[in-house]
């Protein structure tokens, strides 16, 4: 493959019709630690595995609130994610000022996609090296989950996951997604935790330091559940025995 000759500039096509710089950026997302997202009729839950550099360091924040009806989970270059989050927050605030209502999530994500695409078609910039899971609740149309990609593709999902070892989470979600629509909020959170627990490296386990969950939905403003608040859910997970066994399956099917 003539990969190396055509991969220096984002504005250069490879002979196979690929933009290699964009694909390399997508690799960066795959290196980030796992994030999951899933939704029911009334709620969206996003979850993330927080990585820490070593025992002395803190765990990197992976979920950010954008507005009281929207939040994101990030995988990839954190700095790129923060830049996007800043832009999204600004857009939501401006919309609220002008129109007196919450920013509709789909149009924000369409504009987000356009922003991503612009970086893939110009000399002087590079693609964003981060994938986002955007969880939002619109009064008019209900809960939504979107996944963004350095290529500029933004798709809406019922459930999805990104980042390292996310295939385990995807397998879990594929197995159980049919029950999500009618799930209660807490059940959704448990599903997210079970999906996440399969993405932990090696012997590790999901715990209150590296786990992170956020919920938004009907009568539920965006809320982050971490540390001690997350313990209650993790304890339930331990009882099930589904934590740290590497395949994310619960012992009992509910």
């Amino acid at each position: 493959m003539f990969r190396n000759q055509y991969d220096t500039d984002v504005t250069v096509w490879s002979p196979e019709g690929r933009l290699l710089q964009v694909e390399y950026a997508m690799e960066s997302v795959k290196q980030g630690s796992a994030c999951v997202g899933l939704r029911s009729e009334n709620y969206v839950v996003i979850g993330a595995l927080k990585r820490s550099v070593n025992e002395m360091s803190s765990h990197q924040k992976k979920i950010m609130e954008i507005d009281s009806h929207m939040g994101i989970a990030i995988a990839g270059l954190t700095a790129d994610a923060r830049s996007l989050a800043k832009w999204m927050r600004n857009e939501c605030l401006n919309h609220k000022y002008v129109y007196g209502e919450a920013m509709p999530s789909k149009r924000l994500c369409d504009d987000l996609a356009d922003r991503h695409q612009r970086t893939t078609q110009t000399y002087v910039r590079r693609p964003y090296g981060v994938g986002l899971l955007v969880g939002a609740y619109d009064e008019a149309t209900g809960p939504h989950l979107y996944q963004t990609c350095p290529s500029g593709n933004v798709y809406e999902y019922f459930a999805t996951s990104i980042g390292a070892r996310s295939q385990s989470a995807k397998t879990y979600l594929e197995k159980h997604y049919e029950g999500f629509n009618n799930s209660e909020k807490d059940d959704l959170i448990m599903h997210a935790l079970r999906a996440l627990s399969g993405c932990v490296q090696g012997d590790g386990e999901l715990n209150k330091d590296n786990g992170s969950i956020a919920v938004v939905g009907k009568d539920q403003k965006f809320i982050l559940i971490e540390n001690d608040e997350l313990s209650a859910y993790l304890d339930k997970l331990d009882v099930e025995g589904g934590n740290g066994d590497g395949d994310g399956d619960a012992m009992e099917e509910s």
């Binding site: 002008v98 007196g100 209502e101 509709p104 149009r107 369409d110 008019a140």
Partner: protein, 240 residues
Amino acid sequence: MSTFTLDPSAATTTPSQRTQYPIVTGTSVVGLKYAGGVMLAADTLCSYGSMAKYKDARRIRTVGSNTIIGASGEYSDFQSIMDTLAGHTQDDVNYDDGHKSCAKSIHSYLRAIMYQRRSKMNPLWNDLVIAGDGFLGYVDKIGTTYEDDFIATGFGSYLAIPILRSKWRADLTEGEARALLEDCLRVLFYRDCRALNRIQIAKVTEGEGGVVSEPYELETNWEGAGFSSTKGDMEGDGGW
């Protein structure tokens, strides 16, 4: 002010100016909430100073499917606002995300526009009433806003509001609401010398969305003592 001369060699370009005063104007708009929705009324006159120049001006219009807006003040500024709102409504269609602008968000949007123009000392010279989805709001040329169960602009705020304060109820039927608005406009025709007795009524209901009626004439009665007898004949205070 610039000078105009017929000598082309001495031609001057008019410097750009800001709005100083309105030219073609509409008078009061009156609106109220009732049991089935919200209703607006206004006459179909646009005056050119003291001349009743345009007697079929449409001062109440629909925005999207569920909002109506009535304007008093400079008619050309109202037309400009309607163009802007048409673009805004088209944006909703183009985004294709199931989101439709409601009366409340259009009201907020207009507030932002009116206030911005006022801050540039170049206002859109209108007092607007926005109604729909159980919402009734007011925005004026300096960006003041409020919401209430009944609203009136211009002379209506002096002559119609007292009538509405006395007669309005939350459970008015459509017929009662209409009769109440007609009474207000009738009084305005008697006493506002920039008003006309040819009016339009518009409503927004859940079932039909925004609808504006065709113009029709109000019945008036000039036989009453207040109009027919000279003031000096009356006992008590008929003026000087």
